[in-house]
C-alpha cells in the first residue's frame, strides 16, 4: 500500500487489552498510538490522524457509538469496533453509523488483523480508483461490469452483479442486510430480507465450488454478508 508504516489508534479502557493489541499490531508492522477514553481517542484522532482506529464500545466517559458518530462527522478513517456477543442489533447499528467492521470479544489477533487490512485496502482503493478488485479465485472488473472465477467469465444478471459489486467493494468486511437491500431494491425494502437470501443462493451457485459450503460469499448471522478477501490478507489463519 503506502511507503510509510500504517498507523493504528487503539481506543480501549482495559490496559491489558491495549497491551496485546499494541504487540499484535506492532508485530504486523503498524505504528501504534493508544487512548484509554473516548475523549482521548477523539483528540488523538484529530491531532495525529491514523490510518485505522480500533474502538472499544464500553468506554468509561463517552459511549463507543457516540465516539464513532463524532469521528464520522469529519473523518472517513477505517474504524473496527470491538463488540460483545448477544447484540446483533447493536452491531448493525454501529455498521450503519459508519463502522467498517467489528470483531466479537474474545477474539484472536489474526481475525482482527484480517478485518483491519481489508478496511485499509478498501480505503486506499477508494482513493486510487482501481476498477479491478482481485480476491483469490474471484476478480470483479467494475468498469466493464465483468466477473471472473478462476479466469473464466461468468454471466450474472443485473441484480446478481450489483450484489457482488457491493460485497467486492467491501471485500473482507461485513455488509449489512439493510445496506444491500437498500442498494439493490431501493428504499422501503429493508424488511424483505428473503429476496436477499434467494439472490445470495443464486450467486453462490455461480461463484462457489460447492454452493452449500461457501468459501467466498460468507454469512454473518443476523448481520449481513462478507465476501472473503481470499489469501491476499497478510494475516495467516492459524
Amino acid at each position: 500500500m503506502n511507503n510509510h508504516a500504517p498507523s493504528v489508534l487503539l481506543v480501549d479502557d482495559e490496559a491489558q487489552i491495549r497491551r496485546f493489541l499494541r504487540a499484535g499490531f506492532e508485530m504486523d508492522g503498524f505504528s501504534v498510538q493508544d487512548a484509554e477514553s473516548g475523549a482521548d481517542g477523539i483528540r488523538n484522532a484529530t491531532m495525529r490522524p491514523p490510518d485505522l482506529i480500533i474502538l472499544d464500545l464500553a468506554l468509561p466517559d463517552i459511549d463507543g457509538s457516540e465516539v464513532l458518530a463524532r469521528l464520522r462527522s469529519w473523518s472517513n478513517v477505517p474504524v473496527i469496533v470491538l463488540s460483545v456477543r448477544s447484540s446483533e442489533d447493536e452491531k448493525v447499528k454501529l455498521l450503519q453509523l459508519g463502522a467498517d467492521d467489528y470483531v466479537v470479544k474474545p477474539f484472536g489477533m489474526a481475525e482482527l488483523l484480517a478485518r483491519s487490512h481489508a478496511a485499509i485496502r478498501r480505503h486506499t482503493r477508494n482513493r486510487s480508483g482501481d476498477p479491478v478488485i482481485s480476491l483469490g479465485r474471484l476478480s470483479v472488473d467494475l468498469a466493464n461490469r465483468a466477473v471472473f472465477v478462476d479466469g473464466e467469465r461468468l454471466s450474472l444478471t443485473r441484480k446478481e452483479f450489483r450484489l457482488l459489486q457491493i460485497l467486492a467493494q467491501h471485500a473482507g468486511n461485513v455488509v449489512t442486510h439493510g445496506h444491500l437491500l437498500n442498494e439493490i431494491w431501493g428504499a422501503g425494502h429493508d424488511q424483505d430480507s428473503h429476496y436477499l437470501r434467494i439472490f445470495v443462493r443464486k450467486l453462490r451457485q455461480k461463484i462457489e465450488v460447492d454452493p452449500t459450503q461457501p468459501k467466498l460469499l460468507l454469512t454473518e448471522l443476523g448481520v449481513g454478508y462478507r465476501l472473503s478477501a481470499g489469501e491476499s490478507g497478510k494475516a495467516a489463519q492459524h
Binding site: 491489558q16 496485546f20 474474545p106 437470501r197 448471522l221
Partner: protein, 364 residues
Amino acid sequence: MAVTHWIRRSLTSRDPVARFLVPLVVSVSLVAITTLAITLLLSWVRFQNVGIIYLLPVFVLAIRWGFVPAMFTALISVACSAYFFYGPIHDFRAHNWDNQVDLVLFTIIAAVSSHFATRLRRQDEIDRLREALIGSVSHELRTPLASILGAASVIANAPKVKSDPQLSTLANVVREEADRLNHDIQNLLDATRISSEGIHPKREWIDPADIVNVAIERRTRTLSAHKLRVKIAEGIPLFQGDPVLFDQAIGQVLSNAAKYSPPHSEIAVDISHENDQIVFSISDTGAGMTPEDLKRWGDRFYRSERLANATTGSGLGIWIARAFLEASGGTIGAFSEGLNRGTTVSIRMPVTKVPAREAETTDE
C-alpha cells in the same frame, strides 16, 4: 404503601427494633383480626374447629419472617382460641377433650408447616442469590479472558514462537483452553438469562444451510478431530427464526457429538425437508445412550453417570439448546440404538410461508 414499605424494611434492616417489633406487631394484629373474623363468622354459622383458621396468620409470618415469629403467632393463636372460643369462655383452660386435642393438633400442624414454609423461602432466596452470582462472576471472568485469548493469539503468531514447535504447541494450548472456558461461561450466562429473563427470539429469514455452516465454522477447533459430512437436500426452503439462538443450539449439539464420539469418527449433518418441516439431523457414531439416558436427555444439569467421569461438562448444553429452539417454535429430540451405537439428534422447525411477491425475486 407505607405498610408494605415498613414490612419490607423489617426484612432487610439490621435495626433490632425494626427486625423484632414489626413481626411482633403484625403477628398480634393478624391474630386479633382473625379472632374478630371468627367471632363474626360464628354469629352466622356454627362450626367446631376454629383452630384451623388461625393457621392463616401463622403461614403469613412463616413465609415472611421465618420459624420463630410463626411459632410465636401459633402460641398466641392457641391462647386466643382457648380464651374466646373453647369453654370455659374467657378462661385460658379448655375443659372439653375435643378442644384439647384440637389445640395440640393445631400446634403440631403450625410447627410443621412453618418449618416447610421457612425452608421454601430460604430456597427461593438461595436461588436468586445463585443466579445473581453466576451472572456477575461470568461477566467478571470474561474481561480477563479476552486479554488471555488475545495475548495467546499474538504469542502463537510471534516469529520466535512459530519457529519453536514446542512453544507454539503450548501457545495454542492456552488459546484452546481459553476458548473452551469462554464457551462454558457463555453457557452459564445463557442458562441464567433463560431462567431470569426468559428468551425473546427475533424473527428473520434464515437459509438453513447458512446456520449449519456458521455453527460448524465457529466450532472448527472443537470439531477438528472429527470427519464432518454435511448433506443439504436440494431446494430447502427458508424459514423464520432467531439466527443467534439457532447457531447456539446447533453448535451445542455438534459439540456434544464431538465430545461423546471417538476422534476420527464421522459426524453427519443432514438438512432435509419433510411435511412442512425443516429437519436438521446430527448423527455421531459414539457413546450412544441407554433408554434411561434418553428419558432424561436435555434435563437441566443431567449428565449420564457412565460418562460424567470421563468427560467434562455442566449438563447445561442440551437444556439451553432445547430452551432456545422451543422459544423459536422448533423441537429437538434424540434417538440412540443403545450403548456405543451412536446418537442422532433431530431439530425440527416449521417452514414459514414466503409472501407471494414473486415479481420482486425474478431478475431481468
